[in-house]
Subunit: 343 residues, 2 copies
Amino acid sequence: MAARLKDIARDLGVSVVTVSKVLRNHEDISAETRERVLKRIEELNYQPNPAAQALVTGKMHLVGLVVPDLVHAFFAQVAKGVSRILREKGYGLVISSSEEDPELERQEIRQMLVRRLDVLMIASTQWTVESFRDIEKQGRRYVLVDRRLLGIAANYVGTDDIAVGSLATSHLIENGCRRVAHLGGRNVSTALDRLQGYRGALLSAGMPVDESLVVSGSHSDDAADVTGYHAMKELLHLKEVPDGVFCYNDPMAMGAMRAILDAGLRIPEDIAIIGAGNVQYASDLRVPLSSVDQDSETLGANSARLALSLMEAKQPPPPQEILIRPKLVPRQSSLRNRPVSSI
Amino acid sequence: MAARLKDIARDLGVSVVTVSKVLRNHEDISAETRERVLKRIEELNYQPNPAAQALVTGKMHLVGLVVPDLVHAFFAQVAKGVSRILREKGYGLVISSSEEDPELERQEIRQMLVRRLDVLMIASTQWTVESFRDIEKQGRRYVLVDRRLLGIAANYVGTDDIAVGSLATSHLIENGCRRVAHLGGRNVSTALDRLQGYRGALLSAGMPVDESLVVSGSHSDDAADVTGYHAMKELLHLKEVPDGVFCYNDPMAMGAMRAILDAGLRIPEDIAIIGAGNVQYASDLRVPLSSVDQDSETLGANSARLALSLMEAKQPPPPQEILIRPKLVPRQSSLRNRPVSSI
DNA sequence: TTGAAAGCGGTACCAA
DNA sequence: TTGGTACCGCTTTCAA
């Protein structure tokens, strides 16, 4: 069906080698031959067989991306950034979602290794480094995206999550919150760092760190917003209810918001709230949600650039870290001092 | 680095053919030889080279999916459904986004053809069938997802969009709207069908179809919510402002909502509003948004199943259409008769 | 039950 | 400047 080098060579009375060289712009081909070959290539709409190329060069021209959840707008935006860069460079993108399940993630990584993708990008939900050792053992390369892992020196592109935590927390304090709670995420680096940032901000403000105000997502099988809802309910049962809440991410904040409004309380007057990730629709929520922006698309783009550079390097370069500086995006849900703006 | 059939064969003193047969469960291998081979495969953690397999079998075990926008929750959910089915069947998923740009979509389709993916799934933003003729010309197969195309008999999985339009419109009428407007989408089948459903519902209710109440997304380079915002503004400048609006999709409805609230009007008391697609966070919006659910994940799963069956068929089977029946999901933004529920 | 040989569609090396 | 030959790792065919 499809034309092959052989066909072109036969038609023109030259060898396949000659045709192959024209395709790859070798210098040692006469202008005339080159013309004839190109013409025929055009006529037959010749496309090289990628499997044959991959077999001999060892390069699939395919990059793998594993995310915890494609439907979460944050990761969708990361994927968009990745996709843009790969398109520019002529690489294909194989995506898979781990559904926030470490075991499933391990399977997916294994699958991608089996497929011999050129390089992997992983926003991991794992705590152990087993999978990553496997990748290294196979002589392949990878980039950790968004979430770092302890105990392994790896290429990493993410956010300064300690800054995320402290920006958010300080902002609540500046807006008059005296009892700032934290709805934390699971056992991943972003969650731990944001928690640390939260603690740091309280300390710098000379405020006590009250452990009863730190709730971690225990209902871990639920979607983030459901987790946020339940966690917030717990906080509302405390003797001394918090007057500000920093949530691990925006979906959790949405759940928390629901819990607060259901309880008949006002946001931000009774309880101020802020999330992280700055999902697109944050300003369209029940109460426009303050958040910490992580420039997720750039994060994806940078990850892709790093991944490609890794791939092209002869020797594996020393692991590199790229941190994106987060930015506060205050909206109505946390603004208590100043008059509430219309956005 | 990686083990090859040859290595196993050498180690065991058998031929590569024998090993290959064991891998593919051929019957004509003695139990003993099979054992030995399997043992060695295990020990070496042998994985067949997919490029070599693809070269000889012509199958990449890779499926392509082109969506207009990964960040749009609707398509993210479709992708999730697709991904689930492909994972079960051991296929990989190559995703690309056309960013709602027909030219970019054409490029992406071309890329996927060049990569010789086994089958393509496309949620197209094109009006012309050129790309699809190209696919057919190359003897490859594809499934249209969500959006149909005129002038081509193709496999298609989507929603009964006429029903979407009439469900939404009838619902507004039942809730006391007398002047129901429509914020339409672009020139794609879903938009045209929903418009038709809108008209049909008005007619069945014995209401006039006022063309000035039908606004189409003209600001076509903007994101859907921005389009919705501007389109709604236009409607608000009418002499007779509508009291109900059916929006092509949820993002547009979110923009419309903003415009209405900015104008100091109330939802649903002054203007009721309903979208389509039922994005996850619809109930967390400024006013919980009524929508028409399309079961997007199932839509994706069905598309994937159809695509795989297509691929496996010796002869291209006659084009098939799978329509998902939409379901009304009323929320506060459109409920005017009954007391407003807490959800 | 086993395996030698041919071939899938390219690329690399080196001789002509 | 051109091309013969070997080879990438696997499957298929057919003879032993």
